[in-house]
Symmetry: C2
Subunit: 481 residues, 2 copies
Amino acid sequence: MRSQMVFAVTVLAASLGSSTFPETEPPTREDGSSAARYRDAAEQIVHTTLADNEAYDKLRYLCIGIGHRLSGSPGMEKAIDWAVETLKKDGAENVHREKVMVPHWVRGHEAAWMVTPRSDTLHILGLGGSVGTPEAGIFGEVVVVEDEAALDALGEGARGRIVLFNKVMPRYDPGRGSGYGVAVKYRTHGARLAAAKGAIACLVRSATANSLQTPHTGAMRYGDAKVKIPAAAISTEDADTIAGLRRLGAEVRVHLKMEAKTLPDAESANLIGELRGSTWPDEVVVIGGHLDSWDVGHGAHDDAGGCVIAMEVINVLRKLNMIPKRTIRVVLWVNEENGLRGGIAYAKDHADEMNKHVVAIESDAGVFRPTGFSLECTDKQRETVAAEQMRDIMSLFSSSIGEMTVRVGGSGADISPMKDAGVMLMGQRVEGSKYFDYHHSPADTFDKVDPEDLSKNVAVLAAVAYILADMPQRLGERIAP
Amino acid sequence: MRSQMVFAVTVLAASLGSSTFPETEPPTREDGSSAARYRDAAEQIVHTTLADNEAYDKLRYLCIGIGHRLSGSPGMEKAIDWAVETLKKDGAENVHREKVMVPHWVRGHEAAWMVTPRSDTLHILGLGGSVGTPEAGIFGEVVVVEDEAALDALGEGARGRIVLFNKVMPRYDPGRGSGYGVAVKYRTHGARLAAAKGAIACLVRSATANSLQTPHTGAMRYGDAKVKIPAAAISTEDADTIAGLRRLGAEVRVHLKMEAKTLPDAESANLIGELRGSTWPDEVVVIGGHLDSWDVGHGAHDDAGGCVIAMEVINVLRKLNMIPKRTIRVVLWVNEENGLRGGIAYAKDHADEMNKHVVAIESDAGVFRPTGFSLECTDKQRETVAAEQMRDIMSLFSSSIGEMTVRVGGSGADISPMKDAGVMLMGQRVEGSKYFDYHHSPADTFDKVDPEDLSKNVAVLAAVAYILADMPQRLGERIAP
């Protein structure tokens, strides 16, 4: 990694001459305050981005023109083609695909009905990776359990039946955040747990605290299951109805039909585009999101928005002719949703240059009011310094965007495979109260994204990426006194 | 109608002796302030109801144990049976069905897919009364119009195509209320309008301003249409996607399959239960809602809640042993949603006693925080006096429930056939911002009802019904000085 000695004040002063914004005094604090140095640059980026950027049009095309983008689907490949063209048109350099073989799961038609004690349509979405049912479907009596302990307590009670995991996801709390972690366990592992007890299918209450009869899909894993049983998410309302009928003493029988199957791996790609650095082009600041989505809705918040935010950073900086010293590399990963093959492939394909990765920032928390960044690094000393430097940088946005904070811990799924190589990882954070209302559901659509929130996220990421790619010291390293 | 002379002060004072609450002074104002007279009674009713009532359990059973209740369906008949039993158990008298022949529309299976420019599932609900498609479905190119004028402007552009009416429903505004009126026109008349231009099917943007991919059904009418084409509501998200694709220049083709059909009229019933008056039992205060619902979700707000509120009034007054002088009659109408046959039948079957109807109050605006009543009468003088008297009564709730107002104009669909007979009509009003998020959709479920709001509505209606059934003068009439 770059030595602190490189950042002698004389070098810094000289290199600043290439900037399009007024020179500022070289840093006087030992750790080199970036806020002071980059105030004008940040203001220019934020002002320009908030006044006019093309992110919303990009998002519209990706969501409405292309639609959802599950790995292996035509939508995913169309999205890559569109992103290649768009990045090139915006002046990105070195735009190229990097081949990744991805899981290829297809949903097919699916439906479920309650048949006893009355006939009614159920609102389901098969879970990603699930097997299908026989063509005639599966008919079974439903047993409702809250969690694994309740399943265990049933003894043989699940054998030959359909298990419904009805774990209620707590409402969003500004302090504790979402209750997603509580609910997601049974989406991932429910089918395996139920199959081990002899169940014939598994239904899982959707991982959301707000619903208008909207099922939420997501990845499931069979792990070491000896028998693979079909698994589907069911709307919270339908889960409540079934559980309520059971409490009223009714036997509930369900008919579940799913055509889901897993085909051989398909060829897809991560997509790269760069704004090459003026001075240290080999050093990279990675920004990006995942271009794949679930196969419902538009995947607007998850994660068309994150991709568009990163793409637009190149466009904004190009238009401002603000070329930082290091390279800003947009990476649009494939297969975050059901395999993480893109993230794993990127870390592997770029293993030789991991030490040139100054930071990797993922935007994958939805497009809401930006609230700052999370940050993590295996090198705790660098992590501490980086958090301090980032907090300093955050102060640049307090008057234009709002107060933002830096949280140590957590970043993004696609960048996590770079963690062991010591790369500094960051996640773009946003106000989180609504994210899981839409997440992995048909309701994650373009209309749910506020254009102002989108602009603000672009502005913050553009300024942060610019500063981190341009500032004398690498993020997490102290400059020599 | 009853002469004012009947309400001599001596009669009043004597009859008050039967009450379980402390006697108050007879009215001194010319119009007899009910607030002063009934303050203790109202407090007792409100206090008891808010502390403990069985309405939420009733609602649970009606929603979850029985489910939706379209006219002609098994659910509707089960609901009537349950309400008969429940009313009897609660001590209602004269509990009986009154036969009504109702339209019998059945949805059957239905589905729609976008097939061009890409394959995707659409979120639809056939409109009530629609014909079905041929078994193979209808394939057609979609033309998007905002309104009738835009359809007219197409000239021959709709011929052989599927018309999508994409009228956006304005968001709820505390001043102007919901934008439902703007949006509902095309649900009701869209198919007729589109068929007149040669369209082969009609899609209508769902009448809601908040959606999580949730279609909202409702009644449609062919009127004098020469050709009946299938009509379905489509989620706002799917409508936006199709409209957005058209704006991007794409041809959009849709495959629509609906098994919907109208069977011969079925026998059903209005349901009556009474708390017979102690002094003038022939005079009635009608309270009620409609027991039928659309064939999706639970019809919880629309209108299981209204039925349960009215039913619980009997239960609460019985438990308090507060028997008013006039009869309180609970009426649970059938077929409000797609025919109003119940409301029409009630007015006809009871034509002889319309002049004994002191007031008819319908609860059909959802179960939210109570905000007062609307009121209407063809006799404008009585209407004015009634509004004044009701405002007086509303003052009784300001400390326990909150501020409530009386609006002149509007009441309820099921009671509207009594209007021409000069009956005083009232609608129970509630905070309205969320009603249309659920209305006519699979998301109108038990979990959407707040038990406290339910209790408050019961408390208000029980107190108002008691007062109007017990007070010396008829609502809208001034007492003799």
